[in-house]
Amino acid sequence: MNLTYASIKVTGYQLDWCMNILSCLILSISALFTCQAWSGIEIEGAGSSLSGKLMASLGQEYQLKHDTLISYKPLGSGEGIRLLTSRVNDFALTDVAMTRYETELLGLVQFPLFYSAITPIVNLPGIESGQLVLDGQTLASMFLGDIKRWNDASIARLNPSLNLPDSPITVVTRADSSGTSYIFTGYLSNHSKKWRDTLGKGSKLLWTTGKSVEGTTKVIQSVKDTVGAIGYVELGAALRAQLATVNLKVSDTVQAPNLQNIEQASQHFTWRQGSLYSFAPTEQSIPMWPMVGVTYGLIPKTNSQELEGRETISFFNWIVSNKSATFEDSMMIQIQNPVLVDQIKKKLSDLNRSKK
């Protein structure tokens, strides 16, 4: 009896011992797998929602080559700046350029990365991409609520060959602080005195008409769900959603949103020396897409996480130093002007030096 008890006791002890070994083994194997999956560091950013798809692709490319995970949340330019100011993130992307006064006060470095286009999108049965033509003044009147129906004389005059419906126009706008809105309202301000004096250019406005929703995805969904709706999104997002884009009258010509026209516009931007604060072309005599903006990277001058700080600089250095097809795939134009690229690299290398 005693012997049996002793033997059982020994067996129990051995079982415990085996279980411990097994647990250690499982833990070690899972740790090994985790390490094999990703052993690098992670840098986090947020901001410009129009850069979401581009950043996902660039992040993947970079991770393959450098073993650094780029985590980017397309929450809108305003939210990106907010999170970076709180030092929650390592970087932000913004389509609303900050002035030198602001970046200096906040201890940030700002540099341009690429150009993108904003395009109006419509949901009008029977009307395909590029068929509807509008101009700045008419578009502003629609978004002010002054033009209420699709068969209004001002729209009909620009589209004599289209049979426009006698139905109400539903305007869809962004409710959050958005760079897309900033570029769009900048265009409207250039073409309508009423817009310029009452609403102006802004990432977030007190819209006077229509339906306001948060984020590009919701704008796309609202326009898709509403017959007679008009909204505005980044060109790549409009094409991916297969929504009808609108052509714009520029001087006496009609222009379509495409890469060639974005590139034309990009050649007429003016840049301020040093800060690289840019100003979109307002002249209308050249064939170009008139709703083009610049997306900027923002990095803090000091990052409490030294490794992440350095890796953020390396990531942006890699973006500006390598010509990537990802930009064109996303319907965006990478900054390639050698003078600008040199200035951006200098900003990044100065930042790197200050971290040493």
Partner: protein, 147 residues
Amino acid sequence: MKNLNYFFQRRVNPIVSCVILLLTAQIVATTQAVAAGSSVSAKNNKVLQKIIIEGERPEISACLTVAQQLPNLFPIYRKITWEPSMSNAAVLKEETSTEGVLKVISFRGMGLLHDDRLFHADEWVKVLIECQQINENKPLVTVQQSE
């Protein structure tokens, strides 16, 4: 002390003394001005951070930062205030010329007038606040009484 005695005993040229005194005063004044300047910019830094973290439109945040100091700049008002929703109604115009970039931001608020009389009711007036930011520098703010 010995040096000081030497200084007086040597009867240094009064013109030289004046110049030394003036230079010293200048250095003290400059140091104070720099210190005051840096404390203002440190304060602006905190105000701007707070405004942005609260979720303000980034393009008007610098203007709101400077506008918070309005009563110091315009002593006829004891207090200048605006509704939080007013910032979405702020109108931004941006233009370029050969001289550079000009950003003009305007929005409406309320100003409490200064009144030194002993017995009086507070008088709030509607004001139009306008910021002009030239070439990315610190915005210059003006206040005008409006209807």
